[in-house]
C-alpha cells in the first residue's frame, strides 16, 4: 500500500510538472502584450513593464524562475490587476466556487440517490420511466443551456430567486441547481443500474431466504452495496462541476474562480490563466487520487499491492 501511494504521488508530481511546462510554453505562443490599456503605453513604458515582470529575459530563464517560484507557492503577479498576486486572486475567488460546487454536489447526490433508488425498486413502473427520462435529459442538455433557461424562467419570468449577483444565500441556489443537474442525472443512472445488478445477486436471495424483512434487505444489502461504486463517480463528477462552473458562474455573475478564468482568457491575462490552469489541474489530479484511495478503503476486494483484483 505504501509503495503504491508513493508511486501514485510521484506520478501526480510528474503529471503536474508536465502540465506546468506545457502551459508555460503555450502561453509563450500567445500573441499580444498582457498589460491593461496598452493603447496609450509608449515603448519605453512597455520596456519598464516587461522588465518588471521579467518578460525581457530569455524564455528559458523565465521558465526556470517560474518553476522556482511555483515550488514556493508563488504564481506571480496579475498583468491586468497591478500589484495583485495570482495566489490572492485565486484565494479570493475559490470560496464562492467551492460553495456552489459542493452545494451542487450535495443537491445532486441527494436527488440522484432518491431518483435512482426509487426507480430501481419500482423497476419498469411509471416512476422508473419518469426518473430515467429525467436522467437522460439531465445528462444530455448542456448545463449552460439549462442554466440560461432556468435563469429566464425562474429568475426573470417567475422572479422566485435572484437572477444574478452574489448576495446572501438565495443567490447561491440557482447556480447550484444548474450545476447539480449533471450530478443528479449521473448518480441516478448509476445507482439505478447498480441496484438492479445487486438485486439479482445471490446474496440478496440468500438474505431474503433467511427471512429478513424486505426493508432490511433493501437498506442493509441492496443500497449499501450499490453505494460503494458510486464513490468512483466522484472524480468525474467533481470534474464536471469544475468545468460547469466556468459557464455557470459567468451566467449568474458568481464571483468565483471559473468566472475569473473566463475573464482572464478574454483579456489574455497570462499569469492568471496559467495560475488557474495549474490550480485546476492540481485539484483535478488530487481529487482523482483521493477518490481512488477512498475506494480502496471501501471495497475490500481491491488491493494495491499488486495488480488490482
Amino acid at each position: 500500500m505504501k509503495r503504491y501511494l508513493l508511486q501514485r504521488i510521484g506520478f501526480m508530481l510528474i503529471t503536474l510538472f508536465i502540465i506546468v511546462t506545457a502551459t508555460f510554453f503555450l502561453m509563450q505562443l500567445l500573441p499580444g502584450t498582457p498589460f491593461t490599456n496598452p493603447e496609450k503605453l509608449t515603448d519605453s513604458q512597455l520596456a519598464i513593464l516587461n522588465a518588471k515582470y521579467g518578460l525581457d529575459q530569455p524564455v528559458a530563464i523565465q521558465y526556470i524562475q517560474y518553476i522556482g517560484n511555483l515550488v514556493q507557492g508563488d504564481l506571480g503577479y496579475s498583468f491586468q490587476h497591478e500589484g495583485r498576486t495570482v495566489t490572492s486572486m485565486i484565494s479570493d475567488r475559490i470560496g464562492p466556487s467551492a460553495f456552489i460546487g459542493l452545494q451542487a454536489l450535495v443537491i445532486g447526490a441527494i436527488i440522484g440517490l432518491v431518483l435512482g433508488i426509487v426507480s430501481a425498486l419500482k423497476h419498469n413502473s411509471l416512476l422508473d420511466y419518469g426518473s430515467v427520462t429525467l436522467a437522460v435529459l439531465g445528462m444530455s442538455i448542456p448545463s449552460f443551456v439549462f442554466a440560461a433557461l432556468l435563469q429566464y424562467y425562474v429568475g426573470v419570468k417567475l422572479e422566485w430567486l435572484p437572477v444574478a449577483l452574489w448576495e446572501g444565500y438565495s443567490s447561491t441556489l440557482l447556480p447550484s441547481i444548474a450545476l447539480s443537474v449533471t450530478v443528479t442525472a449521473t448518480v441516478a443512472r448509476f445507482i439505478r443500474s447498480e441496484m438492479l445488478e445487486v438485486i439479482g445477486q445471490d446474496y440478496i436471495i440468500t438474505a431474503r431466504a433467511k427471512g429478513l424483512k424486505e426493508n432490511q434487505v433493501i437498506v442493509k444489502h441492496v443500497i449499501r452495496n450499490a453505494l460503494i461504486p458510486v464513490v468512483t463517480m466522484l472524480g468525474p463528477l467533481a470534474v464536471s462541476i469544475m468545468t460547469g462552473t466556468l459557464v455557470i458562474e459567468k451566467i449568474f455573475a458568481v464571483p468565483g474562480l471559473g468566472e475569473q478564468f473566463t475573464l482572464s482568457i478574454l483579456v489574455l491575462d497570462y499569469s492568471v490563466i496559467m495560475g488557474i490552469t495549474i490550480f485546476y489541474s492540481a485539484l483535478f489530479i488530487f481529487v482523482v487520487f483521493v477518490v481512488d484511495i477512498i475506494y480502496s478503503f471501501l471495497d475490500p476486494r481491491i488491493n494495491y499491492k499488486g495488480e488490482s483484483a
Binding site: T36, L102, A164, L165, T172
Partner: protein, 546 residues
C-alpha cells in the same frame, strides 16, 4: 474494524465540506448585512459598475472605474463642476507669473483620513512618483506642459527635475514649459492627486489594493471593498466641504452582465444602469430612459501598405459603402451617432463658440452608387479584380456586431469585396495594430484632454497611435505649428485643416460613429454629474429627493 474506518472517512469528508461551506457563509452573511444597511433611511445612492477596481493608486490608475472612485474619495487642486469646468478644490489662491509659465497654489487646511494634514509635499511626491515609475498616464504631464516632463519621459532627465516644488507646507509651485490654456482643466485629472508619502511607503506594493490600504481626503471615504463584488462609500465628515455633501453613502455593485443590471434596476437594487442595445427597445419609453453622447470615436484603420487599400478611391468607396446611420440606430440603439469626421460632435467649441463638427461638416459621404463608381476606379488603378481582406477587431460585444454589419455592407455593396472577421482579445488587437499586421482594423479612441488635438496628433508618422503607416508631410507641419500657435483662432483653423487633410485629402480612415450610452436612472437622483473626460462621475453634489 472495517466499519470504523469507513465511518472515519465519512466523518472527515463531512468535516471538510462543513469547513469549506463554513468559511463561505461568513462572506455571504456580511453581504447580507450590507444589503440590510441599504434599507436604512438617509441619502443613499446605489449604482452599478461594470468591473472591479484594478488599483486605487492614483499614480498608476488607468481606467475609468478607478478614476471615478479616486475622484470621489480624494481631492486634488481642482475638480470638475457641472459644466465640466475646473473649480477650486484644495486651492484657495492661485497666482501666475507674467508669461503664465509659473503657477503658485496656496492650499487650504485639510486632513487625510489618518488625521495628517494634506501638504504641498504630498503633491510633489505623487507627481514625481508618476514620472519615476513611468506610469501609464505620465503623458498627462507632457500634455499639461509641466517642465521637463517630456525629457523625463524620454529618459533624458531624472524624475526629480520635474517642474513641481513644495515651497512650504501650504504652497505649491508648478513650472510649465510655456503657457498652457488647458492647464487648469487638466488639474482635475486623477493622475494629479496628492499622496501621503509616509503612508504609501509603509504600505509598499500593497498600497491602494484594499480599502484599508489607502488614505482619503475627498468628499467620501471607501469603507468596504469586496473584490469583484462591489464597494461602499460613506460621507467623509472631515472633508473640508462636508457641508455641501448631502449623500450619506454610495453603494457600488459590480454587474458585468447588462441583463442582470436591468433586473437589479427593476428590483430597486440600483438606481442607475447602462442598457445594452437589446434592452433599449423595451425601455426606451420609460420616463427614466436617457441617452448620453460620449466623446469616444469608433473608426476603421486601413493598412496603408496594402496594395489595394492603399488606394484612396478604394478607401473612399469603403467609407461610402457603409450606412452608418442604420448601424447606430438599428444595431447599437444606445444613443451613439454616425460620425463623418474624426473629432466628435458636441464637445469641442471653437474660440467663437461653434462646434468643431459643424465647422468642418461631413467628409466622404455619398450613395452606394458613388461608392461603387469609386470602387471600380480604384480597382482599375490597382489592377485588382477582387479583394479579400480581413478586419482585426477586439472581441467585445459591440465591436463584434459592428464588424458583422460592416462585413455584410461591404460585401453586398462593393462587388468582389470579401471581408473576414478576426476577433481577438483587446490587448491582442492593439498588438496587431501596432505592428500594422492587419488589413482593416476596428479601433476606438477616447480623448485624453478637452481639445480636438487629442484626435489629430495621433496621425503623425511614427507616432504610437498612428498604427497604419500613414504619412502626410503637410499634416506633420500643421500639427507642429498648431502646437506652438498662441493665437487661438488661428490655431483652431489649423486643427480644422488637419482633419481636412486626414479625411478629405487622404480618406485615411473611416470614421464610423461616436459612442453613446443608453441609461435608466431614477428621477429621484439629482445632480449626478457625468463627465466626458477624466473621472466619469462626481457624487459630491448628488441629492436624493423622495
Amino acid at each position: 474494524m472495517e466499519r470504523k474506518r469507513k465511518t472515519q472517512i465519512f466523518m472527515i469528508l463531512i468535516a471538510f465540506v462543513l469547513i469549506l461551506s463554513g468559511c463561505n457563509f461568513n462572506s455571504s452573511e456580511s453581504s447580507n448585512e450590507e444589503s440590510a444597511a441599504e434599507g436604512e433611511a438617509g441619502q443613499v445612492l446605489n449604482i452599478s459598475t461594470t468591473a472591479d477596481i484594478p488599483t486605487l493608486d492614483s499614480t498608476k490608475a488607468h481606467d475609468g472605474i478607478a478614476f471615478t472612485v479616486l475622484n470621489n474619495v480624494n481631492e486634488g487642486l481642482y475638480r470638475q463642476d457641472e459644466n465640466h469646468e475646473p473649480i477650486e478644490a484644495l486651492v484657495t489662491d492661485h497666482t501666475e507669473n507674467e508669461d503664465k509659465s509659473v503657477h503658485t497654489f496656496t492650499l487650504r487646511d485639510s486632513n487625510w483620513s489618518n488625521g495628517e494634514p494634506v501638504t504641498a509635499q504630498d503633491f510633489e511626491y505623487a507627481w514625481k512618483r508618476v514620472m519615476k515609475d513611468a506610469s501609464p498616464y505620465n503623458f498627462m504631464f507632457v500634455t499639461a506642459g509641466i517642465k521637463n516632463a517630456e525629457a523625463i519621459m524620454n529618459e533624458e532627465m531624472d524624475a526629480e527635475e520635474l517642474g513641481v516644488k513644495a515651497i512650504d507646507e501650504k504652497t505649491l509651485e508648478v513650472t510649465l514649459e510655456a503657457a498652457n490654456p488647458l492647464f487648469q482643466s487638466l488639474m482635475t485629472f486623477p493622475t494629479f492627486l496628492p499622496q501621503n508619502q509616509k503612508f504609501v511607503e509603509e504600505q509598499g506594493d500593497q498600497y491602494a489594493l484594499e480599502a484599508e490600504n489607502i488614505l482619503f481626503n475627498g468628499p467620501f471615504t471607501l469603507v468596504d471593498w469586496t473584490h469583484e463584488q462591489g464597494w461602499k462609500y460613506e460621507k467623509n465628515e472631515d472633508y473640508w466641504d462636508a457641508d455641501t455633501v448631502k449623500l450619506d453613502a454610495v453603494n457600488a455593485y459590480v454587474v458585468k452582465d447588462p441583463a442582470a443590471g436591468v433586473n437589479l434596476y427593476e428590483t430597486n437594487k440600483v438606481d442607475r444602469i447602462v442598457l445594452s442595445s437589446e434592452a433599449v427597445d423595451q425601455n426606451k419609453d420609460d420616463e427614466n430612459f436617457d441617452t448620453i453622447l460620449e466623446p469616444e470615436v469608433i473608426f476603421l484603420r486601413f493598412n496603408h501598405n496594402h496594395p489595394v487599400l492603399g488606394n484612396k478611391n478604394i478607401r473612399q468607396a469603403v467609407n461610402m459603402a457603409i450606412d452608418k446611420a442604420s448601424l447606430t440606430d438599428v444595431i447599437l440603439k444606445n444613443g451613439s451617432t454616425a460620425l463623418n469626421g474624426i473629432v466628435p460632435k458636441g464637445f469641442f467649441k471653437s474660440p467663437t463658440g461653434e462646434d468643431f463638427r459643424d465647422l468642418n461638416g461631413d467628409f466622404n459621404t455619398g450613395t452606394v452608387e458613388e461608392a461603387q463608381k469609386l470602387w471600380e476606379t480604384g480597382l482599375k488603378e490597382t489592377g485588382a479584380t477582387d479583394v479579400t481582406v480581413s478586419i482585426n477587431i477586439a472581441d467585445s460585444e459591440d465591436h463584434k456586431k459592428v464588424a458583422e454589419y460592416i462585413q455584410a455592407q461591404l460585401e453586398d455593396n462593393l462587388p468582389g469585396f470579401k471581408l473576414d472577421i478576426k476577433a481577438v482579445p483587446f490587448a491582442q488587437r492593439l498588438e496587431i495594430e501596432k505592428a500594422v499586421e492587419y488589413d482593416l482594423s476596428l479601433s476606438s479612441w477616447g480623448p485624453d484632454y478637452s481639445d480636438p488635438m487629442t484626435y489629430l496628433d495621433m496621425w503623425l508618422e511614427g507616432g504610437s497611435a498612428n498604427r497604419m503607416d500613414y504619412k502626410n508631410a503637410e499634416l506633420e507641419e500643421l500639427v507642429a505649428s498648431a502646437r506652438t500657435e498662441t493665437d487661438l483662432e488661428k490655431r483652431y483653423q489649423m486643427l480644422l485643416d488637419i482633419e481636412k487633410i486626414l479625411l478629405e485629402e487622404d480618406a485615411a480612415i473611416v470614421p464610423l460613429y461616436q459612442e453613446g450610452a443608453a441609461v435608466l436612472m431614477r428621477s429621484k437622483i439629482k445632480n449626478l454629474l457625468v463627465h466626458p473626460t477624466g473621472a466619469s462621475f462626481s457624487y459630491k453634489w448628488v441629492t436624493i429627493e423622495e
